[in-house]
């Protein structure tokens, strides 16, 4: 528990007074260790600690708390700020097009169902578009989800090119009373140039209002690179972190936000359509710090 470890590190400091570079170096090492164990990217953690040090040095330790607590407070506040400060939930407008992208198995198709349920209950009339012709039974998966939610799923022709499918769906939406398009794409590697080009083509064809990177909360050090490349090669508007119902501390959240500056909008907290929540920076900060 970070609090105890930092208090331990500070036992050696007699009296109170100011936080100095010397007396906080041990506690900063402890914090760095906690961040790395929580899967925060190595370089992101380094920069973060430097920022914390800058912020902490010279602070007066007030009578009521220990130096360790003061450092924790700085770390926590910096973390919350870096994670976005305030929640920034997904608030689409009528006629919006939401496009889900990400690595294989991150939870895009399931999340598409969750978004459909959420906005359906908010009075939208969503259309789900299964733009993954590659994965065996991917279209079936989204179709079954849609059926269970009473949400329409667009029907691709067998093996239809995703770009053409999206254009077709987009044209159809405008004339048929749907006011929200949720587009599920195939999982792909950020380094697969052909597949990244496919995403660019879809973006060019339908100009989605919201491109969301769906990422696994337990992603390790590579989180920075993945987010970086999706942002650089495609451009993303936000992030959805999935599988937060597990025991992963979720340092990937900090890594991805730090790498792209994009807000983490929502989090997946289970396998059912109702398991979608708004992302709260303060809750995530507490989770990362354990």
């Amino acid at each position: 528990e970070l609090r105890d470890r930092l208090n331990g590190a500070f036992k050696k400091i007699l009296g109170r007074g100011k936080l100095t570079e010397r007396n906080i170096s041990d506690s900063l090492r402890e914090v760095r260790k906690v961040l790395l164990e929580a899967d925060v990217n190595y370089k992101v953690a380094k920069e973060f600690i430097a920022r914390v040090e800058e912020e902490a040095i010279g602070r007066e330790v007030t009578q009521s708390i220990t130096p360790g607590q003061e450092v924790i407070k700085v770390v926590y506040d910096q973390l919350v700020e870096l994670l976005g400060g305030q929640p920034s939930p997904l608030r689409p407008t009528r006629g919006s097009k939401i496009m889900l992208v990400g690595l294989q198995g991150s939870g895009k198709t399931t999340t598409a169902g969750k978004l459909a349920k959420r906005f359906n209950s908010q009075g939208f009339k969503p259309l789900l578009v299964p733009a993954d012709p590659y994965r065996p039974a991917a279209v079936d998966q989204l179709r079954i989800l849609g059926e269970s939610l009473g949400v329409e799923v667009y029907s691709p022709t067998k093996g239809e090119d995703p770009v053409k499918l999206c254009q077709r769906a987009c044209n159809w939406v405008q004339s048929s009373g749907f006011d929200l398009l949720i587009l599920d794409t195939a999982g792909r590697l950020h380094i697969d140039e052909e597949m990244m080009e496919e995403l660019r083509q879809i973006k060019k064809a339908i100009a989605p209002e919201e491109i969301l990177l769906v990422a696994d909360a337990m992603t390790g050090q590579e989180a920075v690179r993945v987010a970086d490349e999706f942002e650089a090669k495609l451009g993303i508007d936000g992030i959805i972190l999935t599988k937060l119902d597990g025991d992963a501390q979720g340092g990937a959240a900090l890594s991805m936000r730090a790498a792209t500056g994009r807000p983490i909008r929502m989090v997946g907290v289970g396998e059912k359509p109702e398991d979608l929540e708004i992302f709260y920076p303060d809750r995530m900060a507490s989770r990362i710090l354990g």
């Binding site: 899967d39 190595y42 198995g105 939870g107 989204l142 380094i191 050090q221 119902d245 025991d247 992963a248």
Partner: protein, 278 residues
């Protein structure tokens, strides 16, 4: 001595960064570095150029002691159970494994024990077709253990060489889902003592330290005989398997290198370390 580069703090930092970025984790990284520093202090290593080979040697000792996955079934039917958290690549790996065995002339039966996830059975059914395997399945919501049981009965009755059981993805922290997994294993073992002969945990190579928790809890629950490290064709190095081998002694049997039916390789520690040190 003049002109020989020193092993200084900058070098240690570079090595620490490389190991950390590969997802080996703080504990394993620190242990490896301490080991190297000790050897430097003893005078065994006195040049920076000796550090990486020494590190590689140490890692080879951790990862390379296995005899490699023995692909031959030792009894009939040989039962392989595939487990892991959501989305790691279990169903796809089974398709690849099935193909691997089919190519070697074995008759393979697959059990669609993921009766929970949308189109879980349909997905495996397609892989059965692609790999020349037969499939035992049931309707969505059916008891996964009963599907496994029916499949084992069929495997025994119709003389299949291999039975591979697909299970639903589940988080290791969900006690009731872990109980369901134990039940599947129990039911198999009761019908055919000694089965399942292999329990493979499929890990996503992009996963960070949580993989250790996954391995620990799945091992405690049903016992893991080996790991499949999937999605190693991405940019992640999969260093988590070093931590898992160090702490839990569980070896990597296979590596997934893509989404195609041929994209499965038997684990080669040399290859793995080559990629790690690239």
């Amino acid at each position: 001595v003049l002109g020989r580069p020193a092993i200084d703090e900058a070098i240690w930092e570079k090595i620490e960064e490389a190991l950390m970025l590969s997802d080996m984790g703080w504990e394993v990284t620190t242990k490896l570095l301490d080991g190297l520093k000790e050897r430097v202090a003893q005078g065994e290593l006195n040049d920076p150029s000796l550090l990486i080979p020494a590190l590689r040697e140490r890692l080879m000792a951790v990862m390379g002691d296995g005899k490699g996955f023995d692909l031959r079934p030792h009894s009939k039917p040989w039962v392989i159970m595939v487990i892991g958290i959501n989305g790691t690549g279990k169903t796809t790996t089974i398709g690849k494994l099935s193909h691997l065995y089919h190519r070697r002339g074995y008759r393979v039966l697959l059990a669609a024990s993921d009766t929970f996830r949308a189109a879980g059975t349909e997905q495996l059914s397609l892989w059965a077709e692609l790999s020349g395997a037969d499939l035992v399945k049931n309707i969505p919501g059916a008891d996964p253990a009963s599907v496994a049981y029916d499949a084992l009965e069929a495997a025994i009755g119709r003389g299949y060489d291999l039975l591979i059981v697909d299970t639903a993805g589940r988080l290791h922290t969900k006690v009731n889902l872990m109980e369901e997994l134990k039940k599947i294993k129990r039911v198999l073992g009761k019908r055919l003592p000694g089965s399942p002969h292999e329990v493979l945990l499929v890990l996503d190579a992009t996963t960070g330290q949580n993989a250790i928790s996954q391995a620990k809890l799945f091992d405690q629950g049903v016992g893991i005989t080996g790991l499949v490290l999937a999605k190693l064709d991405g940019t992640a190095k999969g260093g988590i398997v070093v931590a898992i081998k160090e702490k839990l002694g569980i070896p990597v049997q296979f590596v997934g290198t893509g989404e195609g039916i041929e994209d499965l390789e038997v684990f080669d520690p040399q290859e793995f370390l080559n990629a790690l040190f690239e």
